[in-house]
């Protein structure tokens, strides 16, 4: 048995498939076009480079996962090494990225279905948010049924996905057609290759789901490092082979502006069958990521609840299925709610930021534990220490620097929300009331100042007089409400 009553039911095959399925999301089917315009045919090099950067951190996951095989992945590693707010922040970002990743995968799947129905001219009305929510609901049930069912579903999905991608690759390799060239050329030089590396790195994210499910993996000391390394190598081979076939078939400039570059390439040498294969592969990739992320978010929430950061009910297991059903259900509700908005960009940005921050903390945890817990039993050790984790940290920080400004902005917001959750859970109720009372007073004073500036004409508002009066009364009312709220909170008596 694993931690608490979590059952160790995942073998090497299922764990490896979880790593591969977690990473191959719908992203690879759409990101290749823009990446090819940045790096040209040298995108093949960028793919390998991404895989190697990913491997630096995955080696840290392998060492820590084998040494500390409890539920929670990065969060558990950070808790053992740092504790306090740093460990909570790691768990928070890990949990929230997996919830967002589940939404992203569900919305991606719904868009693929919508695209396929429209392409086939079928008279079926398609509602993208509704399909996304139903898909989340189905995989929530599978996850609640048991980790064995989750593992089996994942294995089946990934095997079909690999078979479809394998068909694309081998058909392309042995096809006599193709107008592309395999001669390496990078129109943007090294900078272009590096930009493409940062852009496509997302296709490698998600493989750390193995570490999150480590409390349910059989013989963790051997299986976790093997599964992580196998999935990393498999991803490098798959992505490089796909990029190789893409550039054999079409020149990079032809991929610019294509919604689904892989489907376009497949159509060039396989005809409509190719479009069908890639569409089915894309939808399966989205489903396998959804399955993995629902599992991963629940195990992180379970571990956070174990340590008192999340509601205690998240730490309970289903009597019959031995799964953290409340944590699965709660995270899925969030994922479904976000998926229902259909806002893909926001979700993708939030996912990237959280995963990359997690990478930094895992490498830092490894270095701290190597220094402080010399005698910790480590069935697997990261080679070339300390160079490997340092490179992992450096590459992750560099990737953060290359992220879109909006990603950093959303990341900062998520951090602030995390900080609020942490203080609510950790600081006593009375102190929270005092702090909230103080902030209410601040808002009240600010609103009063705004009201004063409006009524004295000090704010340059080019609005009708009635609207200005409405704004004045609104600001004054808000000031009064928050002043009363502040007094009610501050004058509250401490419960003993």
């Amino acid at each position: 048995m694993g931690e608490g009553c979590l059952k160790r039911e995942l073998g090497l095959l299922q764990a490896t498939m979880m790593g591969i399925g977690g990473a191959i999301c719908a992203g690879v089917f759409v990101t290749l076009g823009y990446a090819a315009t940045l790096a040209g045919t040298a995108l093949i090099i960028a793919m390998v480079l991404c895989g190697i950067i990913n491997l630096f951190t995955m080696l840290s996951y392998a060492e820590l996962g084998a040494a500390i095989p409890s539920a929670g992945g990065e969060y558990t590693f950070a808790k053992v090494s740092f504790g306090g707010f740093l460990s909570f922040a790691t768990g928070w970002f890990e949990w929230i990225s997996n919830v967002f990743y589940a939404s992203f995968s569900a919305v991606g799947f719904a868009y693929i279905i919508s695209y396929a129905v429209q392409a086939a001219n079928l008279p079926i009305p398609i509602n993208v948010p509704a399909i996304a929510v139903i898909t989340v609901a189905i995989f929530t049930v599978i996850n609640i049924k048991g980790v064995k069912e989750t593992g089996r579903t994942e294995t089946a999905l990934v095997i079909v996905l690999l078979a479809l991608l394998g068909t694309f690759v081998f058909w392309g390799l042995f096809s006599g057609q193709g107008t592309g060239s395999l001669e390496l050329s990078a129109p943007g030089g090294f900078l272009g290759i590096f930009k493409a590396t940062a852009f496509i790195f997302v296709v490698y994210l998600g493989g750390e789901a193995i570490a999150v499910a480590q409390a349910e993996i059989k013989d963790p000391g051997k299986t976790i490092p093997r599964a992580i390394l196998l999935s990393c190598i498999a991803l490098i081979v798959i992505y490089t082979a796909v990029a190789f076939v893409v550039f054999k078939m079409v020149p990079p400039e032809n991929l610019a502006g294509k919604d689904s570059p892989l489907a376009y390439v497949a159509e060039q040498f396989m005809g409509p069958v190719g479009v069908g294969i890639i569409t089915v592969a894309g939808s399966i990739a989205a489903l396998s990521s959804l399955n993995t992320s629902i599992m991963a978010q629940s195990r992180v929430a379970y571990a956070l609840a174990r340590d008192g950061y999340f509601p205690r009910s998240f730490f309970t297991l289903h009597k019959r299925f031995s799964t953290p059903h409340i944590a699965i259900f709660a995270g899925s509700i969030f994922a479904a709610a976000i998926a229902a908005t259909g806002v893909v960009n926001f979700v993708a940005y939030a996912t990237d930021f959280g995963f990359i921050i997690g990478f930094v903390f895992v490498n830092l945890s490894l270095m701290k534990l190597r220094k402080e817990k010399v005698n910790l039993y480590r069935p697997f050790k990261v080679p070339f220490y300390p160079l490997t984790p340092i490179l992992g940290i450096g590459a992750s920080l560099l990737l953060i620097a290359f992220l879109e400004p909006s990603t950093l902005f959303i990341g900062a917001q998520l951090f602030i929300f995390g900080l609020i959750v942490y203080y609510i859970r950790m600081v006593g109720h009375y102190r929270i009331c005092l702090a909230i009372g103080g902030m209410n007073l601040g808002i009240s004073m600010f609103s009063a100042l705004v009201a004063f500036l409006i009524i004295t004409g000090s704010l340059p508002l080019s609005l009708p007089q009635n609207t200005i009066l409405l704004l004045f009364w609104t600001a004054l009312s808000i000031s009064l409400i928050y002043l009363i709220a502040s007094l009610l909170n501050i004058t509250r008596k401490e419960k003993r």
Binding site: F409, Q413, I436, I481, Y482, A485, L488
Partner: protein, 74 residues
């Protein structure tokens, strides 16, 4: 006296929750609706994120404060 304080707390808490939800919805609408951005004369992407940030922080804070007042007096 206790009952009056309880009633005021629940009333003010309720208003804060409503204001919080309105602010959060406003943040979402700014992000998704270009017509709303035009109405509010928000020109740059930076301004969009600034308004979103302020609205969502205000929204979350108000909901939290409102819930504390409503639940605290139950």
């Amino acid at each position: 006296m206790v009952n009056v304080k309880k009633a005021i707390s629940q009333f003010i808490g309720g208003i804060q929750c409503v204001l919080g939800v309105v602010a959060s919805v406003f943040a979402f609408i700014i992000y998704t609706s270009s017509s709303m951005r035009e109405t509010l004369a928000i020109a740059s992407e930076g301004e969009v994120y600034l308004y979103m940030f302020l609205s969502s922080i205000f929204g979350v804070f108000s909901i939290l404060s409102g819930l504390l007042l409503v639940r605290g007096e139950k």
